[in-house]
Symmetry: C2
Subunit: 211 residues, 2 copies
């Protein structure tokens, strides 16, 4: 996830660093786009609505974001950080920590709404299709690293299907939030990891769920 090309190109005159006024306009526009996204969904994020709400001129908006979907993309990319802590090498802890990141993301109004927009638009809008690919790839990367390392250490079966494993870890949280509309607690995350390990690494002997 990186800043949009539009920004990098328009944020300042060449050789003079970013223009603070342009930066402020961009921040104001994205704040307005973010609020519209949370309150009414992606379809409310239009140049007209963002201009009215932010006070940024419509022509400036069109220059930065020729398509309204670019504004939604930048709101989501800005919010859904892909910074992950490096794995510690303790399988259960690493899975819980990573899954807890997803839990927090699903409970953040902006990233929750952004994720729903991405899921809905990916099939019909290439901007969202690319964003979905990025989110999925970055979002599952640490899981993959952790799972592969555990396979190498013999803590998970060598034949374990990593894609399936990611689905089994992330899927329950997604289903619970996006469809059932229920809260995901830290304890829930512990349970999902516990059951995942019970299914795939029973020989390792699962410690009791509640410490």
């Amino acid at each position: 996830m990186s800043a949009s090309p539009e920004l990098s190109e328009s944020a300042g005159a060449p050789g003079r660093g970013p223009d603070p006024r342009a930066e402020r306009s961009r921040a104001a526009a994205l704040a307005a786009a973010r609020d519209l996204l949370v309150e009414q969904g992606w379809s409310a994020v239009t140049h007209v609505a963002v201009a009215a709400r932010s006070g940024v001129g419509r022509s400036t908006l069109y220059r930065h974001w020729p398509d309204a979907s670019g504004m939604v993309r930048d709101v989501i990319a800005q919010r859904i950080s892909t910074a992950h802590a490096p794995p510690t090498g303790v399988l259960r802890d690493d899975l819980v920590r990573e899954l807890d990141g997803l839990r927090r993301l699903l409970h953040d109004p902006v990233s929750d709404r952004g994720l729903r927009a991405v899921i809905e638009r990916a099939g019909v809008d290439p901007v969202f299709a690319r964003l979905k690919e990025d989110l999925y790839r970055h979002g599952s990367q640490v899981f993959r690293t952790v799972l592969e390392a555990a396979k190498e250490r013999g803590e998970l079966p060598a034949g374990l299907d990593t894609d399936l494993a990611v689905d089994q870890l992330a899927g329950p949280l997604m289903y619970r939030r996006l469809l059932a509309g229920r809260t995901v607690t830290e304890e829930y995350v512990q349970r999902v990891v516990h059951d995942f390990l019970a299914a795939h690494a029973p020989a390792a002997g699962s410690p009791p769920l509640v410490p």
Copy 2:
């Protein structure tokens, strides 16, 4: 899921049964709405677009569906049937069969797109919020019945959290289709059920995955 009230009220004059012409118009309108939904998502399903595509007059459309979201709702409700086969009492078979229904639903273009629309709109449009509730409740009901019966027979732990169990069964498929965009095979469904039982009913002894 039932026919919309608009339809029942407007399909025929009182006491004379449904009006075949009104039925044809409604079917043509819903077919156009369905195609627009699949091709461009819910936001393309407008009175203007459906009228142009179906040949049904715009005033007729407004009479049947005062809001465009009502057309999307009826397309989805019509497609996502809630007919489920009655459980057989064999836990693994019942879970596989029910989950295979979800698999097929996720691979049907109309219900796939409808589900994405529901997930995106539920937070901002009451029509979709109700639809999501219906889909979730009906969609998880057979799972609940099967799981509760297995608990009573002692095939699953009495303390098993049924909500979590539904998440663990349906979640991986949803994540895989909606976010990863991958195919869900019948074998995948078998694996999810296998791993679910390995986590929760290890004492029962899982038969080998491939018969």
